[in-house]
Amino acid sequence: MFRISSLIAGFRLFRQCNLRDLYRNRLRTTLTILGIALGVAVLLAIHLSSRAAVVHFEDSLVRVAGKSNLEIVSETGQPLSEAILPQLSWLWQVPSHYSPVLESTVAIQQGKHPPNRPAESSPDSESLSATLVPLLAVNMLADRQGQDREDQSSPWAPGGEPTNLWDIFKPAHAYVGQQLARQQGLKRGQKMVVWANERAVSLTISGILSDEGLGGAYSGALVLMDMGPAQALLHMPGQLSRISLQVPEDQLESLQEKIQAQLPASWVVQRPERRGQQVGQLLRAYQLNLMALSFIALLVGAFLIYNTLSITVIRRRSEIGILRALGLLRWQVAALYLMEALWVGTLGSLLGLALGWWMAQGTLGAVSQTVQQLYTGQPVGHLRVEWTDFAWAFAWGMGFTLLAAICPVWEAATVAPAEASRRGSDESRLHRLSVRLSLLGVALGLLALWASIQPPVSDFPLFGFLAAFLLLLAAAACTPLLLQALLPPLSRLLSHYRGAQQGLATRMLFGALGRTSVAVASLAISVSMLVSLTVMIGSFRETVVQWVHQTLQADLFIQPAIRSLSRNTGFLHPATLSLVRQTPGVRAVDAFIERPIRFQGQQTYLGAGDFEVLGQYGRLPLLSGEPLSRLMQREQPKMEAKGWVPTLVSESFALRFGVKAGQCIEIKSPTGLLTLGIMGIYTDFSSEQGYLVIPRSVYAKRFKDDSLSSLAVFLHPSADSQQVRQQFMRRLPRQSRLSIQTNRALRAEVLRIFDQTFAVTYAMQGVAIAVAVLAILNTLLALVLEHRRDLGLLKYLGASQKTIRQMVLTQALTLGTLGTALGWGVGWLLAILLIQVINRQSFHWSIQWHWPWPSLLLATGLLLLTAWLGGLLPARMAGKTMATEALRAE
């Protein structure tokens, strides 16, 4: 058993031997702490902001569901028909309750309106901005959700009580949540303009809900209406999003079966939590990849710890030998250095927690926009932090610290007592071991190759990330041999062209091969992270640019303005299509509808378009390279002969569900099962969930739905797109809120969304540069301090201050160049892994390789400049070193 006195004595030893050394090298210690802090900060920020999306949705789901334990939803993305309600009346006898719910998203228009026109009278929605808000509609008289709340607190915010409770049943009247009222400055009795589908409508605020119960759903930023007025507002007469049921828990399963038997095949009765799980599943790839990328920053931070600790152990080998000779046991040596690592890790992680909380405020905005636009269609609430989040991030920081400390601590523990009287023995050992280390590196590289060809685990590229990690280790293991081969000729080269002293500077790096290897490997790892992220993002962007140029061929693109805020919200009225077709200059229109559906238990999109128009005017890029019109001519009759619906699928759908051209699949529709024959697979980057696209005529018939999501308008060659746009806008009703974009504007919009989606990744690229800069500074400082004795000796032998400074700068640039060059090589391999394995397995997208030279050269230039600048301080320090002082310090 340990005694307290032993622990105190142990800590005293730690303070004397390790803490003082950390303090003496405080600049390096600070850089290391900053490195790990940045890693932990990025991890926490991404964790908090990406989790906020799911937590917000699940919390709202619980509040809206109240005590409901079952719900009826559609699997085809279609609304439910309220005609089913009378058939469920037997449930009252059980006794059970059910209530219809209509849920959608509207946008609250912001900005001032021209004074002489009504608020809803500006069809040019491009000039207006709006904020997405969930709209919830229930049967206000019959709904039990409000009554089910256990607390008896008032449902109204202070000053928000309705003056007349019956107002809510009137058309265009609504309650708003307290948070929304606060954000938008709304008051009871005031009017607000909302965009619903393609129209702007004025809603009167009848009351303001408190944050308790239903009013607290969506963090209090919601619009609540009675069912009838909401159906009228959304053009959904007799339609519902779902039916909430509250049944006795002990009869739940039997009742679930009984209700299911009554429903059409495309409807399902399920637990309300299921929807939360589905949203979690939907966001999983996005979240996991953000998390995995944020781990990169932490990994680089960990390498910084590894770097610092390794160099410390190498530097203090003789000191460890003395302690061992005086009676310090192996495990005590290990404990001292482990404590040193944990000390630095703890300080770095704690600082990272504070920094992460601050950074999360920024990342939340970026993540929120992406989640809202591409996934849930609902704005993400505010950050909610629990102590477990901090504990989680802290634990990762400490975990990576421990991981980074394993090798140096082991190295320290194996120092023999005899090394108390030896010097440089470790360096000579490394010269001997470098070949074996390289063989280990090759083995790790082969293991990485094996891992890179493994399939994903539950749609997560676990082996892909393992391959990346193994690749980094392999590079680190091969570094000593590489330096052993490169440094002598480099030294000769420098001696020949830059003078003997510069050659000597490089020779000194060769003499301290252990320290140099650790430094170069750490630097290379930082650079490789930077290069791989830059190449991945650059390649992806370039691929999307090419795809946009190839795919977007129409002259005008029309969709409800609200759709530009979220892809899942807002539909066009069929009358708009007729209006477009009648506009002079319009040659053809491809009308497209898309709805989220469930296929094989997962969410994907069903789209329907006008194949003839697409075949004739569009240039949908097929993977086979064949023109769409030819494919349709050949395949469509074959499919129809088999009774299959001719279908095109996106590449991500094909990869996700493992389907190929020529195959058939079945999906549910309100009119029964539909057999789809896959004609071809096309390249698409608009959704990682994938698309199934069928002819719109079939969709309208089988899904009984003539609504539209967007229109691609092809003009006569002589027509001017801007003029046609103006003409069309003049024909629109005054309340229309449409986004009408020219080809060029839409292409720019697609790239804007891409950049917005990658905003967090760009930020992480910035962090990677920052950590790389820290690594360079740290490494150079360490090396120069280590060479102080040699430099002092040179000074003693007559070298001038200027010569010493130049030598240190040569060392800095040599290290910087070698680290950057090795980092480029490893980064290139990492980028292949990111593009061909990790991205493909996560998002099912094929990205074309592209070197983003300007960004890469800029980043490399910055790193080399940092290496040079990083050498300036140590060079000054070394230049000022007194010969006697340096020699005496030994």
Binding site: R12, Q16, I322, Q332, A418, R888
Partner: protein, 262 residues
């Protein structure tokens, strides 16, 4: 030689404190080196070859020889800092070769004192902390069956011991100085103080006067002699100075890795 022996030690308090230390010193064991060989790699020549040596308890032996003859290597082997390639080294009848690393380390910590040729002081520690280090190391590891000795392991007790030993070596006034602030002679005295603070049964000194001027060298030799005579400590001192060897009760010579017959 007589002059050297009769010379009053330059360090204050040697005579007064030795008696106290003697009270706690257990009876000294002998050291035996039996047919020891050492080389660092298979293809390399023997650094120590067939070394046989016996030190009686309380004996002060000088080991002389030219540079590179294997003296320091033999000393390292006897201290358990290195392992012989062949042969056996016994301290108090216990063979070092058969001890595991932890046992060997504990034995070094409790029974052996080592004075390094290059002092080997820790730069981050003050003089007092360097000297106290062996006691701190012992205190940091609880030894089974060692209970009720908190008075001995308390910091106050250890600090008193440090003060006693520093007084012996005449460095009381330099307690808070760091090694970089000391002269060569002072560093060597700190190294000796560190080697004797835990009252080792065997003191091994590797050229303790090699880096010192004549005056400081003589002071160190007088201190070693005093420790041997008053405490009965077994001392093996490596030196290539005839003057230093004269202080010892017996002198052995080594050449090309082999111990020469007296």
């Amino acid at each position: 030689m007589f002059v050297l022996l009769c010379r009053r030690p330059a360090f204050k308090g040697v005579g007064t404190q030795v008696t106290d230390l003697n009270k706690t010193t257990p009876s000294l064991p002998g050291v035996s080196v039996v047919g020891v060989y050492k080389r660092y790699a298979d293809a390399q020549p023997w650094v120590v070859e067939d070394a046989c040596l016996t030190l009686a308890a309380g004996e002060f032996v000088a080991l002389m020889g030219p540079s590179g003859c294997g003296k320091s290597t033999l000393l390292n082997l006897m201290a358990g800092l290195d392992m012989p390639t062949r042969g056996e080294i016994l301290i108090a009848g216990q063979p070092l070769n058969h001890m595991n690393d932890d046992t060997l380390t504990r034995m070094r910590r409790t029974q052996i004192g080592f004075v390094f040729q290059a002092f080997n002081l820790l730069n981050t520690l003050t003089v007092a902390e360097n000297v106290r280090l062996p006691l701190d190391l012992a205190a940091a590891e609880p030894v089974q069956g060692q209970n009720g000795s908190s008075a001995e392991t308390s910091l106050g007790h250890r600090q008193r011991r440090v003060e006693t030993v520093l007084e012996q070596v005449g460095l009381t006034h330099r307690q808070t100085a760091y090694p970089s602030m000391l002269s060569g002679g002072e560093m060597q005295r700190v190294a000796i103080a560190r080697a004797i603070i835990h009252q080792p049964r065997l003191l091994l000194a590797d050229e303790p006067t090699g880096n010192l001027d004549s005056e400081n060298g003589q002071s160190v030799l007088a201190l070693l002699q005093s420790l041997n005579q008053t405490l009965g400590q077994t001392i093996l001192m490596v030196t290539h100075s005839e003057e230093a060897a004269a202080v010892a009760s017996r002198c052995m010579r080594m050449k090309d890795g082999r111990l020469q017959s007296p």
